[in-house]
């Protein structure tokens, strides 16, 4: 199997989907001949033409809204936000039009919105956000957040084939830093299933996206403790059984994410556990997240805000000793 970067895996996935199905097309700012702000779509306009790689104007509501319209007419649009942060500008079309369409009138809306998200490279308050939790409070949207090149491609395929609107969070910081084996051709990674990134029995460390790697690094050598690292992969719908199963086994859980704390995905995971696995808990349910603050620009400030390996290690160690 070839080794691809996380970014190449997404590109590869886009290419496969577009080859496989004529109704798949992309729209977004600068995604055409320029290849996108991060060059994820580089080369696709050459292969598929400008019509299937629409360089839209700077209009996020129109992008999402047009994707909704095309989707209900049987196309499979993949919209790109230049940065995940800009989804706030197309928010209403997602949470009110796309999300509620099927429930209200039985009409499926198979669209994908790609959200280059996350910080760690001095992107500052407007290029570092992780907006996933908003969409869990908007029933009707699915949310995925791959952490590996393999899943990046496989979850993209599943997102494109899914008849629902799917938000696809691709972590910018992994784009070129992460490599991994990625199978050629089309394959799907099922939505709604956690991945055990590292098996263990002493503590469950739940993470997703880039934080899976922070998690793995943090527990690599934790005084011999066997920490299980769960990679959520799909944030909505959550794999409740996958999470609860692990917690029932370990009795201890740390939930880690890069997004800010209050009402984040971590809050949901903790609440789920506190309700459904209370009897199995051998200690408090601990969160390691960014605090409730905009993501600052300057490196020392940014690393003070984003969860760091040491912090995760310390949280696990404390809980293990509990």
């Amino acid at each position: 199997m070839p080794e691809l970067t996380y970014l190449e895996a997404i590109s590869d996935g886009l290419r496969e989907e577009m080859r496989h199905d004529e109704s798949v097309f992309c729209l977004g700012q600068d995604i055409g001949s320029f290849g996108g702000a991060f060059k994820v779509t580089e080369g696709l306009a050459d292969e598929f033409g400008a019509d299937r790689m629409w360089d839209t104007p700077l209009a996020e509501s129109a992008i999402v809204g047009a994707a909704v319209g095309a989707a209900v007419e049987g196309m499979r649009p993949i919209a790109e936000m230049q940065f995940a942060d800009f989804i706030a500008c197309g928010f209403d079309q997602l949470v009110n039009v796309a999300a509620k369409m099927h429930y209200r009138q039985g009409l499926a809306v198979p669209l994908v919105v790609r959200l280059p998200s996350g910080g760690g490279f001095s992107g500052g308050p407007f290029h570092s956000q992780n907006p996933e939790a908003w969409f869990l409070q908007a029933p009707g949207l699915k949310v995925v957040a791959p952490s590996t090149p393999e899943d990046a491609k496989g979850l993209l395929a599943s997102a494109v084939r899914d008849p629902n609107p799917v938000l696809y969070l691709e972590h910018k910081h992994l784009y070129r830093r992460l490599r991994g084996e990625v199978a050629k051709g089309r394959y799907e990674t099922p939505l709604g299933e956690v991945r055990v990134a590292r098996p263990g029995s002493d503590l469950t460390l739940v993470a997703y996206g880039a934080m899976v790697h922070t998690a793995l690094e943090a527990v690599e050598d934790l005084d011999g403790a066997r920490v299980e690292v769960l990679d959520l992969r799909t944030l909505c719908p959550l794999d409740r059984e996958g999470i609860l199963g692990s917690v029932r086994k370990t009795g201890k859980v740390v939930v880690l994410h890069e997004a800010t704390r209050s009402c984040g995905v971590g809050a949901e995971v903790c609440a789920l556990i506190a309700e459904e696995a209370f009897e199995d808990l051998d200690g408090p349910v601990v969160r390691v997240t960014a605090p409730d603050v905009p993501i600052p620009f300057s490196p020392p400030l940014e690393s003070a805000v984003l969860p760091q390996v040491d912090q995760v290690r310390e949280a696990c160690r404390e809980l293990l000793e509990y």
Binding site: S61, G69, E73, Y103
Partner: protein, 358 residues
């Protein structure tokens, strides 16, 4: 048998040229306007009787806009219909009974109780139901048109919105995108003088139709109380869109003759303004014109009344939805289902022999 209409006022000759209406077509226009009014009157009664939960909104006085414009659509065209446009739903094939059941939150309504009021669209009839946020369907209609354009299909997306909606950012984004891609989309701007209580002066400085040129496409203003004028403008716009000529913005001047909702006494509407438009009721205007041409309309009235009785009885016989189903269907398990709509204009279909209710 086709009898071309006289050319409607306020339109460029070349635009009206394509729209040919037979006498039967004109009867249908009248019938749909009557059916819209009768259905809405019935719904309002049901509301007053406490049968309609929530609020109640209608399109009283605006029948010519939705009927005239939707009549130009072909079966494979798509429509995103707004809250004053019941006539468009009826034309696409939604029966009055289903509309009443919808209002009452019953099974058999278009959304089976999931949504209420005019917040619906029958996907089997080529409609994508509106959301409350205005005018969110404008970008969606662009997306429908984009699909047609990409697949090189000669089809049109039509959507409606009010004067108020033109102030919203989504309106602009849709117009601009439609202009850039020259999408086959028809925008029908229903200027009924008010957005809720807010008069035109507080919504915009100049008629929004003037913006169309700056977006790079045609804008036409029509008498929204003249169903044939609206039809001609819509037919021309659809033809243009189908021929690759891009979008059109049709500003139809009309007046909302009821409150914003049934709760609204319209105290903010100057009585003279109301009077002026009361004298221009679209149904009366059209019947007078038909009468002057010696065309009989009485049978249409009777047929509509009969239909409404049957449909109301049907609606009232529908059950309420089962609470156990309330959490079902948030996510789809199958791909989109968007069927074709009815298209009663004689260009599209040979006149059905069995009667007027296609």
């Amino acid at each position: 048998m086709a009898t071309p209409t006289t050319r409607p006022a306020q339109l460029e000759p070349q635009e009206a040229a394509t729209a040919e209406l037979t006498v039967d077509d004109r009867g249908e226009l009248l019938r749909y306007m009557l059916l819209m009014r009768a259905t809405e009157e019935r719904a309002l009664n049901l509301y007053r009787q406490g049968q309609v939960p929530g609020s109640y909104y209608d399109g009283r006085g605006q029948e010519a806009v939705s009927v005239g414009s939707a009549f130009a659509l072909g079966p494979r065209d798509r429509a995103c219909i707004l809250h004053r446009d019941l006539g468009a739903h009826l034309i696409r094939g939604v029966t009055p009974g289903r509309v009443l059941a919808q209002m009452m939150g019953r099974l058999g309504g278009v959304t089976d109780g999931r949504d209420g009021n005019m917040h619906f669209g029958d996907r089997h009839l080529g409609c994508v139901g509106m959301v409350s946020m205005l005018p969110d369907m404008a970008p969606v209609a662009c997306g429908l048109a984009l699909a047609f354009q990409m697949r090189r299909e000669q089809r049109v997306a039509m959507t409606w919105f009010g004067d108020g909606s033109t102030a919203n950012g989504q309106w602009h984004e849709a117009m601009n995108v439609a202009g850039i891609r020259q999408l086959p989309v028809v925008f029908v701007l229903e200027n009924n003088q008010f957005a809720y209580s807010t008069p035109n002066e507080l919504e915009f400085v100049r008629d929004p139709v003037e913006r169309a040129a700056a977006y790079g496409f045609e804008g036409v203003k029509v008498d929204g109380n003249d169903v044939e004028a609206v039809f001609a403008a819509a037919a021309a716009a659809c033809d243009r869109a189908r021929a690759g000529g891009g979008p059109t913005l049709i500003q139809a001047e009309t007046m909302r003759m009821h409150g914003h909702g049934a709760h609204d006494d319209m105290s903010y509407v100057p009585p003279e303004l109301f009077e002026r438009w009361a004298n221009r009721d679209p149904i009366e205007l059209f019947e007078r014109r038909l009468g002057a041409e010696g065309i009989e309309t009485k049978s249409i009235h009777i047929a509509v009344e009969d239909e409404l009785e049957r449909e109301t009885a049907w609606a009232l016989a529908q059950p309420m939805p089962d609470p156990a189903t309330a959490t079902e269907g948030v996510f789809a398990t199958e791909d989109p289902v968007l069927g074709d709509g009815h298209a009663p204009w004689s260009r599209w279909a040979p006149r059905a022999k069995e009667g007027p209710h296609a």
